[in-house]
Amino acid sequence: MSLTTESSTNFWLTRPFSERSTQIFLGVLLAALALVTILHVAVPPDNPLHVGAYTVNLFGKYLSYALLAVAVDLVWGYLGILSLGHGAFFAIGGYAMGMYLMRQIGERGTYGHPVLPDFMVFLNWDSLPWYWLGFDMAWFAFAMVLIAPGLLALVFGFLAFRSRVTGVYLSIITQALTFALMLAFFRNEMGFGGNNGLTDFRELLGYNLRSNDTRLGLFLATGVALGLGYILCRAIVTSKLGRVSIATRDAEARTRFLGYRVERFQLFVFVVSAMLAGLAGALYVPQVGIINPSEFSPIFSIEIVLWVALGGRATLYGAVIGAILVNYAKTVFTGVMPDAWLFALGAMFVLVTVFLPKGVAGLFRHLKRKQRATSTLADKPNNTPEEVSA
């Protein structure tokens, strides 16, 4: 971290590309995307190496979770704000995408109404609520994917940070936020499909969501979004603003004393994180084919934090590893013995906390440091600064 500071004279958005860890991350991500694509398209289905459409879809889902975890790590790892409500931003982004997909169904719904989604016909509504207007246009819906969660985070964050609510209290409020939204979205009168949510999607930008090619496309799009989101977060983290965030995390009063308006920095990072979470939700929904209020559930938001903790906080790539690892384990366990999954999750969390307090990423760092220590042992003595003895 410190080594990059002095050499980083370039433009802030391109700064991450000169970092070793970002290069490795992007390399691995691109290789994984290419490998899955090749194994899916070029390898015949009867070959054991073939990756089926189901698996591609599953990987796509993991990648959207990974993007969500990166968003959480940005606020938790670097800003010290433990948000237990990031599921809310994820779900709102998902709902924005879901509303667009609902409008795309058109007359093909069960009731065949040209404008109203099925659940509104069922509720005997005769026109669209105002907030559904415009969602038939892709550009508007896609903009809303970022704007809606960003706006919620802006208002919520403005109130919270202005009153200097941080720490445990903020965590509790974020938890309350997502719980309140869950209850609200459960209500049919809200106009978001109640507890059934939005489903029965057909097309995205004219592509049939049930075709294998669209699934592959969505998987790749999610991978690209993860890469871009990662670069953005890395750019923020390696900028001076990132160092102000770390300073805020560790000594908020001192940072304020240096002349930084801490609450504004917190708000900025929080809003960026919420928008990334919304994007993740929007990519998640077409791949699983449904969005319902369960995404708002407090348990889900806590689970996201668990992924980040397992992977390693304040590394960003650790969040990606954690999200993929835990969700892969979840897929395996819930398939093999569904009842044992929660025990396995608990065990994983306990084991990591005890043996790898800095997560899986901490293990990597530890091994790397060990390697470096042994290789530089020879020229060590002349590097001891005289100040140490003073």
Binding site: M1, S2, L3, T5, E6, S7, S8, T9, N10, F11, W12, L13, I236, S239, K240, L241, R243, V244, I246, A247, R249, D250, A251, A253, R254, T255, L258, G259, Y260, R261, R264, F265, F268, P385, E386, E387, V388, S389, A390
Partner: protein, 278 residues
């Protein structure tokens, strides 16, 4: 992107090319001037008709027993405490009693608190970078670049505080004394005219004290420095001018030897403390 880029560039030139011009007028000598200042807390006079003048570039030590009003005096100068009466001037132009804390800080009065607080997860270099006087709004901070001028300024301060060799170390692994120096360095990054240093050597080893003495005497001349300290040995090693406070007003003023031989001072403070120190 090119729009953002140009914006950031303009900001950079705007901020760092022009060093903060200090508007402080010191043509008449003193940089800090307290006259007849009185502060009472519920009838108890913490500061009682205090008169104090600090010359530009001077290094002044302020000593006194507990409750003599040293910390309260620091609070008055930085705008934290409001006196009941009296006047406080910074140079001959700025009436500090009409200004609030941030305004006073931006005039160039820096205060170092007793307990060092540095950002432990950041390197020494980065700590100084954050402390630097710069545009501290969000987008200029996001797009800030490391320019030659900034680097030179940080290097200069690193040399001054003697931490140049540790620039890439995390501040968290520094010793207590090194953290104190880093904190002084963070104050220096803001180019202060007057440094208020509260008990700089508390908890330091002998060698660390020596280094701190060198550092503070080195700063005098370029900045005015006011040191509040309990440790008599340390004060003796750096002081040219010593002010002894007692019950909220000045008891004696002069060189260390003059002050130490003043019978009033010996009575209230020095005698007892010197034996302890010896």
């Amino acid at each position: 992107m090119s729009f953002l880029q140009s914006l950031s560039q303009r900001d950079r030139v705007f901020d760092f090319m022009a060093p903060q011009a200090s508007p402080v007028d010191v043509r008449h000598g003193p940089i800090l001037y307290l006259e007849d200042v009185t502060v009472s807390f519920d009838g108890f006079k913490a500061i009682n008709n205090l008169n104090l003048t600090i010359d530009d570039g001077e290094l002044r030590c302020i000593i006194g027993p507990n409750g003599a009003g040293k910390t309260t005096m620091m609070g008055i100068i930085t705008g934290k405490t409001r006196p009941n009466s009296g006047s406080v001037w910074f140079g001959s132009r700025h009436n500090l009693l009409q200004m609030n804390e941030p305004e006073i800080a931006s005039l160039g009065i820096g205060r170092k608190f007793q307990k060092p607080t540095v950002f432990e997860a950041l390197s020494v270099f980065e700590n100084l970078e954050l402390a630097m006087a710069a545009d501290k709004r969000i987008f200029p901070t996001l797009t800030a670049r490391m320019t030659g001028e900034i680097k030179d300024r940080i290097d200069e301060v690193l040399e001054t505080i003697g931490l140049a060799a540790l620039r890439h170390q995390l501040a968290g692994i520094l010793s207590h004394g090194q953290k104190q120096w880093l904190e002084i360095g963070m104050l220096l990054m803001q180019r202060p005219r007057l440094l208020l240093v509260d008990e700089p050597v508390a908890g330091m080893t002998e060698q660390e004290m020596e280094r701190t003495a060198e550092l503070l005497t080195g700063l005098a001349g370029k900045q005015s420095v006011v040191v509040v300290e309990h440790d008599m040995g340390f004060v003796r090693s750096i002081a040219r001018q010593v002010t002894v406070l007692h019950q909220g007003s000045v008891l004696a003023e002069g060189t260390m030897d003059q002050v130490a031989s003043d019978p009033k001072v010996v009575e209230v403070y020095l005698g007892a403390d010197d034996e302890e120190a010896a």
